[in-house]
Amino acid sequence: MDLQTHIPKALREVAELANCQLIGPLTNDTVLLESGLDSLGFAMLVAQLDEDLGMDPFSSMQIAVYPRTLGEFIRIYQQAAEQG
């Protein structure tokens, strides 16, 4: 699955479901906490991606490095997918 496409799409869908108004277009430089998606929305997004992809890298990380931007968020999922 192309995560660079799937994750922003899932984020938009969760934002609509969580009644969050996204601020501006989503790019890899978008700061997650300033995107308009709130804390509940992010938790829902991670849960949705766990269903879609069968992984939650944020609950599997031995070294906790959390993403600031959408690009970093996608990269964490890409790395988790590569590690299988």
Binding site: L33, E34, F42, M61, Y66
Partner: protein, 195 residues
Amino acid sequence: MTTPKHYPSSSFRPLTEADLALVWQWRNQASIRANMHQDTPIPWQQHQAWFAQRDASTSPFFVFYQDGRPIGALYFKPHPPTGLEWGCYLGETDVWPGSGLLLEIAALDYAAAQSDCNTLHAEVLSFNHSVLKLHQLFGYQETAITAAASTRNGVHYQIHHFCYSTADWLSNRAAILAKLPKQIASAAAFIEFIN
């Protein structure tokens, strides 16, 4: 093979003088000031004076450590006769997804653990939609909506007043956590207050 789950530790430690500069930087960020009653930057001297004069026993202020790293603040002040009022913010932007929910849970857990606290109170500005939504989701009672004394960016706004009986929180806690994405309830098990 199933990878063992790892959830972040959420430790709340009392504010010390060593934390002052970091907390001051967080509090003066535009995105945090925007949702505060006082939205103008706080001068360093005023911040120091606040720390020197505050009564930590009645108005506890905690720094939120996620896996040992300071990422935000959670604070309380008395709400007479038998309540506490709380506030919080995340000062860092690279945090575990759902950290704001952990703050919401931690505030209620802290209040419920205080023998002299019967209700937890909160005030939210009317344009802070995400927190309004969270308080409603958690089951706060909205007790009043009052007009703010000032305008924000030239626009009038309101203050939403909420309260939560700590006895109700203890009854509702499991059901509320069950409504949240499942990793939140798992991470909530790692919330601790260190005095």
